[in-house]
């Protein structure tokens, strides 16, 4: 019954009426041109004519437009949300791309040519030739200190980042620590201050000298920016107050036993708490390897 209804729904979507990768060709070409500019000026936000696509604005449409503009028939796509391939929105985004392209998908980080992500960088190190695309809610890192776009653009142009430093300093004075959790500001290639998207601080070091091309797309805010392969990316920190990644002493994945990964808490009914890898593929790979070595 479900299968039958499913096929009916699919025929309702009339996917064969749509262009390859949904967007019309001139839109894809424009997005690729803006992407090239973004790659040429690491960390600089390039405005682009963000199109409406059949995914809700604010749910990854910037990342998805980058994916749709770049994907070709040979690509293998991985889509994650919070590190998880099975998360509802990841499933939905992946489904739109496969319905309109017929491309292959994977959950294995190492098999993917394109990875679209929300809020995480996979634990498995990325390699040369891979492209990782981040979904970005707030492309403007200076939004922490300045609401006006005209002002922040001038601040970037002049490299005038003192207000951000003051913000961090005041944070330290008030709390003894920098209290920014995820979305930690970084500086790219000694020049532009950049919002790394709401990835945890755990993932910030992975931005530095990455062999993979990193693209950032903000659909609602209409901005693309990039970190080309092997580019220096540093989190903002003070000499005496160094940057810290998340660390929970003694935490271990209750499934695969990993400790050196980003873990999230799961509250059980009895109020107790377990930890679990947020990167589900990494967790699955570890389990599979263990089962193999145990000869299961």
């Amino acid at each position: 019954m479900t299968e039958k209804l499913r096929s009916l729904l699919d025929s309702d979507t009339n996917c064969h009426y749509y262009n390859f990768a949904y967007l019309n060709e001139s839109a894809k070409r424009e997005i690729r041109r803006r992407t090239l500019k973004a790659v040429a000026i690491p960390g600089h936000q390039v405005p682009f004519g963000s199109r409406e696509i059949p995914i809700t604005r604010g749910w990854g449409t910037g990342g998805l437009q980058l994916t749709l503009s770049l994907i070709g028939p040979e690509d293998v796509l991985k889509v994650i949300d919070q590190g998880c391939d099975g998360s509802v929105n990841a499933v939905n985004l992946r489904r739109l791309v496969t319905l309109t392209t017929g491309c292959r998908t994977t959950t294995r980080t190492s098999d993917a040519t394109l990875i679209q992500t929300r809020h995480r960088i996979p634990e498995t190190p990325l390699t040369r030739g891979q492209i990782i695309i981040f979904q970005v809610p707030y492309p403007e890192v200076l939004r922490y200190v300045e609401p006006q776009e005209t002002v922040t653009r001038r601040m970037h142009a002049e490299g005038a980042y003192h207000r951000m430093w003051t913000f961090l300093y005041e944070n330290v004075v008030q709390w003894g620590r920098i209290t920014i959790g995820a979305r930690y500001p970084v500086r790219v290639h000694n020049r532009y201050l950049m919002d790394p998207s709401p990835i945890p601080r755990w993932d910030i070091p992975k931005l530095n000298q990455s062999p993979a091309l990193m693209l950032f797309g903000a659909g609602r805010e209409k901005r693309i920016y990039a970190v080309p392969p092997f580019t220096k990316v540093e989190p903002l920190a003070f000499k005496d107050i160094p940057f810290e990644v998340e660390h929970q002493a003694g935490a271990q994945c209750s499934r695969c036993g990993a400790t050196d990964v980003f873990l999230t808490e799961i509250l059980d009914k009895d109020g107790s708490c377990r930890w679990i890898c947020s990167d589900t593929d990494y967790c699955d790979q570890r389990l599979a390897a263990r089962e193999k070595s145990h000869g299961v």
């Binding site: 499913r6 019309n24 604005r57 509802v88 499933v91 929300r118 005209t150 959790g181 995820a182 709401p198």
Partner: protein, 365 residues
């Protein structure tokens, strides 16, 4: 495994979608036809076309049906559809003086050349629920038809066109002259906004803004967070011809007629750039379909956004233009339903750390 609970899973999504579509057809009434929506809920269709920025009545009706009456979702369906079809080009400039008017009023003058044409409006009627609509019986409908036909026999035909009130004020030098520039319009669907945004871009954003969104800001301006003090010079609703000239053709071709609402508000006087005496200033609103609230709000905000030094948020281009697109605002609002456990974990770790540091300091003290 308990672990499954944190993954949504493809099956769950499919099931939710089936349930959604099933709810629409699960009642015992006959399916609503798009024709019925077009004929009986035309204002909803107009609103969806306007906010969806696509003049496609049938598609808008289908979208409304699919969205179960949610205008934000229905406009979004149209907007998204827009991106998949190829762009042919820009039409010729619409001439609203050629509008086949169905309604046209001025609040600035008691009488205007051509007269005030009220058309179909609930403006001057008691807003009481007509309980007969609960049953909507044939008898009552027939009576209404007869009443209309009796009226139509007596009435005079409406002229093809009406002069524009603001043109008359322009002729008297009370309003600045039009300054038409034959340049390609700024296209906000291709170029993201840059601030300060040119007027053509501002008008485009307002023309596809969410009605409630611009109403709230225009109302704030009218109430005191602004200095526009508008007088409706003219509000007209009707059909305008749309012409298109392709590179292959010598003459522009009539593509069809669009229903639009146009509003000009006359606002406070300012020093004239060309005349030694002061002139009134003008705010302009135009949107797809019949939507008077939107056209008036747009005209007020258009004028408010001309302020060079904004004194209130409703005069600030970034504040107004970046927050009134229904599709963007609603989408971002809804995104907070998406899982945020990675970012929240990161915040949890920070609060625990700060609490530990402070606790330690307390012990040390």
């Amino acid at each position: 495994m308990g672990y499954i609970a944190v993954r949504g899973g493809e099956q769950a999504i499919t099931n939710a979608e089936i349930l959604l579509h099933y709810y629409r057809i699960s009642g015992s009434s006959a399916p609503l036809t798009t024709e019925q929506i077009l004929e009986q809920l035309p204002l909803a269709v107009d609103r969806v076309m306007s906010e969806g920025a696509l003049y496609a009545p049938e598609l808008a009706a289908a979208a409304l049906k699919q969205a179960a009456g949610d205008t934000l979702e229905a406009s979004f369906l149209l907007r998204a559809h827009r991106s998949s079809v190829s762009r042919i080009g820009a039409s010729e400039i619409i001439n609203t003086e050629r509008m086949r008017v169905v309604r046209r009023i001025s609040a600035a003058f008691k009488d205007i050349p051509g007269g005030q044409v009220l058309g179909a409006t609930p403006d001057y009627t008691h807003h009481l629920i007509r309980f007969e609509l609960l049953t909507d019986e044939v008898k009552a409908r027939r009576k209404l038809t007869q009443a209309f036909e009796a009226l139509a026999q007596k009435g005079e035909p409406i002229p093809d066109t009406f002069p524009k009130v603001v043109s008359m004020l322009r002729a008297k030098g009370l309003l600045p002259q039009k300054n038409p520039k034959n340049t390609q319009p700024y296209d906000i669907t291709l170029q993201p906004l840059e601030f300060p945004a040119p007027r053509s871009a501002r008008l485009q954003v307002l023309a596809r803004a969410e009605t409630g969104g611009i109403l709230a800001l225009a109302y704030a301006n009218m109430r005191g967070y602004g200095y526009v003090h508008p007088v409706v010079g003219e509000l007209r609703v009707g059909e305008v011809p749309l012409y298109f000239k392709s590179s292959a053709e010598k003459e522009a071709v009539l593509l069809g007629w669009l229903r639009v609402t146009e509003c000009e508000v006359i606002t406070r006087m300012e020093k004239s750039k060309t005349d030694s005496r002061p002139q009134f200033t003008l705010g302009y609103g135009l949107c797809f379909g019949h939507n008077e609230i939107k056209a008036i709000s747009m005209a007020v905000l258009d004028r408010a956004l001309m302020s060079e030094e904004p004194k209130s948020p409703t005069e600030d281009q970034e504040f107004v233009l970046l927050h009134t697109d229904g599709i963007e605002a609603s989408g971002f609002c809804l995104h907070y339903k998406l899982p945020h456990y990675v970012t929240f974990q990161s915040d949890l770790e920070r609060i625990r750390k700060v609490r530990t540091v402070l606790e330690k300091e307390k012990v040390d003290d």
